[in-house]
């Protein structure tokens, strides 16, 4: 028998054609003849579409002025949006009270940024303040009626402000309710389980438009006069129930992906059901379904535009109403582009943040 003793082979650099810009281009864009043809066609398409769109939106657009007559060039007439921006942002909220809306949104902006940015101190206190104190402060700022603030009825709320109120409250309420429903649906207690199933299947099975119609038209007919409450609140409850049913199913998907062993380990350590859920199962399950949760949030954010059918003027409704102004006929493209970009920026930010969160929470166990 012979024994081979060899020195370890030293590492060699990879071939030049597989690294660097040239390698990347060859591998990804020009790897074969059909791929090269598609690459060239794609570049032609981009060349023909993107520069004209950018020209329309920026370089040949009109930005300053106060009337339709100021829009003389071929591009977009942003004067229309700029002149009406206050209405787009605040609806029919009295201009003298705008500061209240700005204060409320700035405050929540600071609070949320505090919670989302890493390495800020006292996150627990800030979170408790955001959950328990901020809603009360926001209520008095938006609605008034106390501390010398005049009442602003909810039918005067509108524009981006209304959209943000609906979306934020919808998200903050739909997630916890959805978690409770998901836990209920997986519970071994028959009453909790069947109630959750009925709730989820009912709200998930009806269109949001019907829910909104029911809340604004049918409910007042059925309910006694003394029980009547605000139309916006009714719509909000409808949106929250509807979205929490979706959220429940997203969360349930995450719960089902947690291996049985995690429950057993927690049980063997003597953790109770709620402690097991809170410390062990939910943190893992929610992390798994971040894409699904954000998907539901984004859908919720855009679905808020449906409130226009019950006469609430959210951002889209306010902009559409402005099209009817005889002084500004024919600027619907600018209006829609404006609305679309506001929605896109908001939704894209949520998407980016969720990707950041996924990376941050990754603890090296996913394969």
């Amino acid at each position: 028998m012979t024994v081979h003793i060899t020195t370890p082979t030293p590492d060699k650099a990879p071939p030049a054609s597989s690294v660097g810009a040239v390698g990347w281009l060859r591998k990804n864009l020009f790897s074969s003849i059909p791929n090269s043809i598609f690459t060239i066609l794609g570049l032609l398409l981009i060349y023909n579409l993107v520069p004209p769109a950018i020209n329309w939106a920026f370089f040949t657009a009109d930005w300053v002025g106060s009337t339709k007559g100021d829009c003389t060039s071929e591009g977009a007439c942003w004067v229309f949006v700029i002149v009406r921006i206050r209405q787009f942002l605040f609806g029919f909220y009295p201009p003298s009270e705008y500061w209240r809306v700005i204060t409320a949104f700035s405050l929540v902006g600071v609070l949320v940024a505090w919670l989302l940015i890493e390495r800020t101190p006292k996150k627990g206190v800030v979170a408790a303040f955001t959950v328990f104190c901020y809603p009360i402060i926001a209520y008095f700022l938006f609605y008034g009626g106390s501390f010398g603030l005049p009442v602003v009825e909810t039918h005067k709320w509108g524009g981006l402000m209304l959209t943000l109120i609906l979306a934020t409250i919808g998200m903050f309420c739909a997630l916890p309710i959805g978690i409770i429903l998901a836990l209920g649906r997986r519970s071994s207690m028959p009453i909790a389980k069947s109630m959750s199933v009925v709730f989820i299947e009912f709200w998930r099975g009806v269109p949001l438009i019907t829910v909104l119609f029911m809340s604004s038209v049918m409910l007042p007919i059925f309910m006694p006069e003394t029980w009547q409450f605000d139309k916006l609140l009714r719509a909000l409850i409808g949106i929250v129930f509807f979205q929490s049913a979706y959220m429940a199913e997203v969360v349930r998907g995450g719960l089902q992906a947690i291996p049985r062993g995690q429950y057993e380990a927690a049980e063997a350590l003597g953790l109770s059901y709620w402690k097991t859920m809170f410390f062990i199962i939910l943190p893992q399950a929610l992390k798994l379904v971040i894409p699904g949760i954000v998907n539901t949030f984004i859908a919720l954010f855009k679905d808020t535009t449906l409130v226009l059918i019950i006469g609430l003027f959210d951002l889209l409704a306010v902009v559409q109403a402005a099209f009817a102004d005889p002084k500004w006929l024919g600027f619907s493209v600018e209006g829609y582009v404006f609305v679309a970009s506001v929605y896109w920026v908001s939704c894209f930010s949520m998407s980016r943040y969720s990707q950041h969160l996924e990376k941050k929470l990754h603890t090296g166990h996913a394969r």
Binding site: P259, E264, A265, A266, E267, A268, L269, Q284, L361, T363
Partner: protein, 254 residues
């Protein structure tokens, strides 16, 4: 460590007692009339072919599985539907699983401290000090800030043992603790378990590590088809098996 030494550590105090325990999965009779007494400091190895009910047996002892007939008494507490009894039994029994079952979203230290803080209400500082002590004992203290996913299988299993010990149990259950490990990692886990045995811990261990059984066990139980077929002290059990089924099993694994 000889068998004589090991037996000195045991006393007459009964830690776990099973009387005529029967269990079914649907129609499948998985445990048949199990009778077993484990005294303080005893180290029992349970072996047997796959599906013989050995894991089910020890999982019944902390109510991860429910038995349908008979009595299971752990540290004087009868396991029944009373959640308080189950809670007290679980505080007294630590369990180590085949698949480690560490919490992947928590660091090694957090894995060890979670239950002491939230079940036993220990102050965090104290819990961390105790956890550190046990992590040092299983020689993994330098990894305390890492997540389980960053450790090897053997390291994870040692963390799982430390996590159980942090609850200060008087009985430890091991459910095939080395079966999911690469061969070169089995020894580091067994060494920890041998240490634990030397300190007089009451242990029930489902395993096929016969070397380990010979080193530490007071008794070896052989199970087949839901029954305890044979029960003997380790040297007798391996050198002089009585039943044909035991002989067949030993001829297949040795």
């Amino acid at each position: 460590m000889t068998v004589e030494n090991a037996q000195q550590a045991t006393s007459d105090e009964v830690m776990v007692e099973l009387r005529n325990v029967n269990k079914w999965y649907g129609d499948f009779h998985v445990l048949k009339n199990i009778n077993l007494k484990v005294t303080k400091g005893e180290r029992i190895i349970i072996c047997g072919p796959s599906g013989c009910g050995k894991s089910t047996l020890i999982r019944c002892m902390n109510r991860l599985e429910e038995h349908q007939e008979g009595d299971i008494i752990v540290s004087g507490i009868t396991l029944d539907d009373d959640l308080k009894h189950i809670d007290r039994v679980r505080r007294d029994i630590g369990m180590v699983f085949q698949q480690f079952n560490l919490f992947p979203h928590l660091t090694v230290m957090e894995n060890c401290c979670l239950a002491p803080i939230w079940v036993q209400k220990q102050p965090r500082k104290e819990a961390e000090a105790i956890a550190m002590k046990f992590l040092e004992r299983v020689q993994i203290a330098d990894q305390a800030k890492k997540f389980p996913g960053q450790l090897s299988g053997g390291q994870q299993q040692r963390v799982a043992i430390a996590r159980s010990l942090c609850m200060n149990p008087s009985i430890m259950l091991f459910d095939e603790p080395t079966s999911a490990l690469d061969p070169e990692m089995i020894k580091e886990v067994l060494d920890v378990m041998v240490d634990l045995a030397h300190e007089g811990m009451t242990m029930l261990c489902v395993t096929h590590e016969m070397g380990f059984a010979k080193t530490v066990a007071n008794r070896v139980l052989f199970m087949d088809a839901g029954e305890i077929i044979e029960e003997n002290e380790p040297n007798e059990f391996f050198d002089n098996p009585q039943s044909d089924r035991t002989k067949l099993f030993l001829s297949q694994i040795l």
